[in-house]
């Protein structure tokens, strides 16, 4: 499997009246063809903004991609002229959003909206496009597709609208599907339907998926690789099994511990909570973003120096990387990674 997309040192900031919001701070990773990447994080972690930056959909002003490269099949998307980027969106990279009602145009029929991209990107005529649209609706499990093409978005339920969005996203056989919290607004039984559908279509179309979610459970069932984001940075990344079972970052560990499980008895147990509040993204990033909330923080080190995102010496696999100065199993500092300049300082602490 070749590399489909490579994100290098992506930095996105918003210049607002209240100051600069440091939304994405130096994010780099590779995505393979056909790979499903689960991006986990809370609100303000930069998970959505990083995806919108890839698509160049950041509202500007106030937003600005200040640094970085996004190589997609050899081209740097951030350098493409606008008209060429427009050909990439929808055709090669498609995106679905959390709330299907706000992403569908309420005054146009589903048919009009579905055939639009087919005519634009695939050069189809009205008749072919409409036949293909009906076929796509059938594929995402909407019964009576031919007739439903004439319906407006309000005539569909929430789950059905998300199916329409998926049909629209897959209409031009994209190489990459970016799904930004696509099941968050849906009920669990409908969420299970949509996830099942995406798994089926993934096998059928073979596209790569970036699935953005705050729900660790959803990502656990879907993703090959999991990437945990906090404060605009990747803090841990690796094969799903490693990240969930052999967790190496205190934030990921804290999240997993704080989640109650519906399949386990737990009366009279107290939840293990992560203390403190989510970070204020208006404060310029210095050191580890999780520092103030971290139970294992090392003063003078973690608040001064951002740890590199590398496989720690304790890591089992070279693909399992994390950005932390501490070995979470022992609470000991991983001094061998620390640059010599900082090491002297740490020894004094």
């Amino acid at each position: 499997m070749g590399v489909l997309m490579e994100v290098k040192h992506l930095v996105t900031r918003f210049h607002t009246q209240e100051g600069i919001v440091y939304a994405v701070n130096d994010v780099s990773y590779k995505l393979n063809e056909g790979e499903t990447l689960g991006v986990v994080g809370e609100s303000g972690s930069g998970k959505s903004v990083h995806a919108l930056s890839i698509m160049r959909l950041i509202p500007s002003p106030p937003g600005r991609i200040e640094n970085g490269e996004v190589f997609f099949q050899g081209r740097d998307l951030l350098q493409l002229p606008n008209d060429q980027m427009r050909l990439v969106r929808g055709a090669e990279i498609a995106m679905i959003f959390q709330d299907p009602m706000t992403s569908l145009n309420p005054v146009l029929t589903i048919g009009t909206q579905l055939t639009e991209s087919l005519k634009l990107h695939m050069g189809m005529n009205e008749k072919d496009a409409s036949a293909r649209a009906a076929e796509l609706l059938g594929m995402v499990g909407i019964p009576d597709a031919q007739r439903r093409l004439k319906n407006y978005p309000h005539q569909f339920s929430g789950g059905m609208r998300q199916r329409v969005m998926i049909a629209m996203a897959l209409s031009c056989n994209p190489k990459l599907l970016i799904a930004d919290e696509p099941t968050t607004a849906l009920d669990v039984t409908i969420q299970a339907q949509i996830i099942e559908l995406v798994k089926k279509l993934r096998d059928q179309f073979g596209m790569a998926i970036i699935w953005i979610s705050h729900d660790l459970g959803v990502v656990a069932g879907l993703a090959d690789t999991v990437q945990v984001m906090y404060g605009g940075r990747i803090v841990e990344r690796g094969p799903a099994g490693d990240v969930f079972k052999d967790t190496r970052h205190p934030y990921t560990l804290g999240l997993l511990k704080s989640l109650p499980r519906h399949d386990r008895r737990q009366q009279n147990e107290r939840l293990i909570q992560i203390e403190g509040q989510p970070p204020d993204m208006r404060i310029p990033p210095v050191g580890c973003p999780f520092y103030v909330r971290c139970p294992m923080r090392i003063e003078g080190l973690c608040d001064k120096q951002m740890p590199p995102l590398i496989p720690g010496p304790e890591s089992g696999s070279p693909d399992h990387i994390k950005a932390c100065w501490v070995d979470v199993r022992t609470g000991k500092t991983l001094t061998e990674d620390i640059p010599a300049s900082v090491q002297a300082e740490v020894q004094n602490v």
């Binding site: 339907q193 099994g241 989640l259 109650p260 519906h262 939840l271 992560i274």
Partner: protein, 352 residues
């Protein structure tokens, strides 16, 4: 049983939830509660053409000091139930008894006094706080409405003390809601609900709008406050994992009816209703090994409109085990006690 005054006796087909030999006193007794919202048609002369049966004949007890969970998908009537129990909606019929007093026939001024004893925590910490009021004023408002304090200084001290209890710095008493994060705002909402020292709190999805790392904080706070003030909770939620953690008993609702009811571990480990079964199987688990090997029951279709519930069992349009005949004809299945305190409304729980 349409007379709201007549509190129906506990009969065999009512899930009063009284375990054999259970001597606990119910704080809230709900019997045959219905809340139907009329659908009107006509431009000038409005005529009722139907009704949304948001809550359709449900009965349950909430015991002093327990947490009763109310779960179900959107539109199942769980929030309407919570609001009707607090008399924020006038019930269509049925009876609600609170601390031995019938609420549905109570005079408005008596009801207002009663409201000190029962409060609500809302889902959206952004919409439920007045942006023009300072935190101190928001928390003190119920105290003013009910004229609890004559002395302003005493009231302020009480408010600051309460802020401390819910984990807010009293130093922020003069700040406004927009200066706080979602989790802190929810703490303000909790402090407001606690200001009148209630015994019963309806918490309507109190954590669903919060970040994952904040949810555990708020749930721990709710549990601490429960033991400190001996509170009784009606906890409405769709997050089944959190419900298992916080609740003692749970009622599963579908299309305005309770379909399963019982002690929490019993319902989660031994679900009797096919809806509970599929609901539990749809909840993702943060463990890739379990997720990959899990057999899911994927329900087809959506929840039918509560304005036009299907004939027979409400779940028959999506039920994987519905049988022709009995499941598709009236009467609806009744709640039957399958084991002590565990009730389910399904024709299939009985051998036939």
């Amino acid at each position: 049983m349409s007379s709201p005054a007549a509190a129906a006796p506990v009969t065999a087909n009512q899930p009063a939830g009284i375990l054999s030999g259970d001597k606990r006193v119910p704080l809230v007794k709900v019997r045959n509660l219905k809340k139907h919202f009329p659908i009107n048609s006509g431009l000038i002369i409005q005529r009722q053409v139907g009704a949304v049966k948001a809550v359709d004949d449900i009965s349950f007890d909430v015991y002093t000091g327990e947490t009763l969970g109310l779960v179900g998908e959107s539109g199942c009537g769980k929030s309407t139930t919570g609001r009707t129990v607090l008399q924020l909606y006038k019930p269509t019929s049925g009876s609600i008894e609170f601390e031995g007093h019938e609420l549905t026939t109570m005079k408005p001024d008596e009801l207002r006094k009663m409201r000190r004893r029962m409060q609500m925590i809302f889902q959206d910490p952004f919409a439920s706080l007045n942006p023009r009021m300072s935190v101190g004023n928001i928390i003190a408002e119920p105290l003013r409405v009910h004229k609890i304090y004559d002395n302003k200084q005493e009231m302020l001290e009480f408010v600051e003390d309460l802020m401390q209890k819910v984990g807010l710095n009293p130093y922020y008493v003069n700040r406004y809601p927009h200066e706080f994060s979602g989790g802190q705002r929810q703490r303000i909402g909790i402090a407001r609900a606690l200001a009148l020292k209630p015994s019963f709190i309806v918490a309507d999805e109190p954590i669903s709008a919060l970040d994952v790392s904040i949810q555990a904080q708020v749930v721990n706070l709710l549990e601490d406050l429960q033991s400190e003030f001996n509170l009784t909770y009606l906890f409405i939620a769709h997050d089944l994992s959190m419900v298992r953690h916080i609740c003692d008993r749970v009622a599963v609702m579908y299309l305005g009816k309770i379909v399963e009811f019982g002690p929490i571990d019993e319902v989660y480990e031994n679900p009797q209703h096919p809806y509970t079964h599929s609901l539990l199987s749809a909840v993702p688990v943060p463990d890739p090994d379990i997720e990959r090997n899990r057999q899911r029951i994927i329900l087809t279709g959506d929840v039918p409109s509560p304005a036009r519930p299907p004939l027979g069992c409400n779940f028959n349009t999506r039920c994987p085990v519905a049988v022709p005949g009995i499941c598709y004809q009236e009467p609806d299945p009744e709640l039957l006690e399958v084991s002590p305190g565990h009730w389910a409304a399904c024709h299939r729980v009985l051998p036939f």
